[in-house]
């Protein structure tokens, strides 16, 4: 394995990180939107969202990715590997985020909401100033956990030809007939990223527990 090979795995790391970030940034608000639809019990649509979340949570990312990558062109929607990858990540993570947001919304104290109503706050203002800041704090550990899970499923994107860390490592292994060293480099790249997120999650939980104990 040459220096150039290691560099190409680092290039893969850039792809892995950008795709994960795209998935996280698009998936977060969509998950919140889905959770709000279920929370507000919008007729019919809430049912559809419940079904969507239930199916998506049970679907392996590989299967979802293959479905999108092969079936969308079949019904006339052209799609390249990168957009298929982002779409699959967003669909997958938004379903999990929806559950995290929803459980925070379900546990939101009703009296605060009613108090805001009684002083005449509009629905939008009520949500932005009363509900959102509190559910963000409650959901944060769960959302960070979901981010680390998302990064751990990104190697699947290599299946449709996205050159991420895993695909770069597999290619070098196939060229040099020495698969173990590039895989170990790949592990050395993934582990710190995931470990940082896991540590962030524990830190947030500890800080919140400390704040609660002080209160």
């Amino acid at each position: 394995m040459t220096g150039g090979d290691i560099l190409s795995i680092f290039g893969g790391a850039l792809v892995t990180i950008s795709l994960s970030l795209a998935g996280i940034l698009i998936g977060l608000p969509i998950g919140l939107g889905l959770a709000l639809v279920r929370w507000a019990n919008v007729p019919f649509i809430a049912r559809v969202v419940t079904l969507y979340v239930s199916i998506l949570r049970a679907t392996p990312l590989v299967t979802l990715l293959l479905l999108l990558f092969f079936a969308l062109p079949n019904i006339g929607v052209p799609i390249n590997p990168i957009s298929a990858a982002i779409l699959a990540l967003v669909m997958n993570t938004s379903a999990f985020n929806c559950e995290v947001w929803r459980s925070a919304l379900m546990n939101f104290p009703k009296d605060q909401y009613e108090a805001a109503q009684s002083v005449g706050m509009r629905a939008g203002l009520r949500f932005r100033c009363i509900v959102l800041p509190q559910i963000v704090r409650v959901s944060l550990p769960g959302l960070v956990n979901e981010m680390s899970l998302l990064i751990k499923v990104t190697p699947v994107l290599a299946v449709v030809g996205v050159v991420d860390i895993t695909r770069a490592a597999v290619r070098i292994g196939a060229e040099t007939y020495e698969p173990l060293p590039p895989f170990l480099v790949a592990v050395a790249l993934y582990a710190p990223i995931v470990f940082a997120l896991v540590s962030l999650q524990r830190w947030i939980e500890r800080r919140q527990a400390a704040a609660e104990a002080a209160a």
Binding site: S54, I55, R57, A58, T59, P60, L61, V62, T63, L64, L66, L67, F70, A71, N74, I75, I151, K152, V153, T154, P155, V156, A158, V159, T166, A169, V170, G173, E178, P179, L180, F183, A186, V187, Y190, A191, P192, V194, F195, V198
Partner: protein, 218 residues
């Protein structure tokens, strides 16, 4: 479109054998990972610094590595160390070892929240170590950890789909091979998705019946 599903229906034997392989693989891995998790948990909580440190390293390390990469390492990487496994054994080994770390962490989480009194009472009654574990510690632990273990089993089912990359003939592999031979991508993969969903609904139903049992015993 209906015609596409007709093609999938004509290939149902292949899909069903894929579903059966997914179910068998996930069940074997889940049971083995749970058993190994039970061995791992006392090691993580051990008073010996070296044992608990090594166990912690394994558990935390596994949880930082993507499963797909781990499966690649077991299947393609180990042969260069002289350990050559076929795709079934390496798939099963990867799935089991990887999830042992998660099971150990789940069981540790449930273990530390268990009340001390029944265990101390058991010791006072002169239960031997093994009987104490089997009769006093294990039942409430399993009931308390039930829902989280169920979630992990669903995770195992989803992880098993990754093994399609090492050509293990599970459900996603079956769907891919139908799609590549007949070019019916939507019908083939949506059928696979619905079958996965069905499997997960079965697990969820199982978990909630265990939950009812736990409530009845309380």
């Amino acid at each position: 479109m209906i015609h596409d599903f007709g093609i999938v229906w004509s290939e149902r034997a292949l899909l069903l054998s894929g579903l059966a392989n997914t179910a068998i693989l996930s069940t074997l891995a889940a049971v083995a990972a749970l058993m190994l998790g039970f061995v791992m948990t006392p090691a993580v909580m051990s008073k010996h610094r070296i044992i608990s440190g090594a166990a912690r390293l394994f558990v935390d390390g596994m949880r930082c590595v993507p499963f797909l990469l781990f499966a690649y390492i077991v299947y393609y990487g180990l042969p260069s160390l002289g350990l050559r496994l076929d795709n079934w054994s390496s798939g099963l080994a990867a799935l089991t070892i990887y999830n042992t770390a998660y099971m150990a962490e789940i069981l540790r989480g449930a273990w530390v929240t268990q009340p001390r009194e029944p265990i101390e009472a058991g010791i006072a009654f002169g239960f031997s170590e093994l009987r104490l574990f089997r009769r006093i510690i294990l039942p409430p632990l399993l009931l308390a950890a039930g829902p989280v273990i169920g979630n992990q089993v669903i995770q195992i089912i989803k992880d098993s789909a990754f093994l399609t990359i090492i050509a293990l003939p599970e459900l996603t592999h079956a769907a891919s091979s139908i799609q590549s031979r007949h070019y019916v991508p939507f019908a083939a993969f949506i059928t696979a998705v619905l079958l996965y969903w069905g499997l997960c609904l079965v697990i969820e139903a199982g978990v909630s019946s265990v939950g009812r049992l736990a409530d009845a015993r309380r």
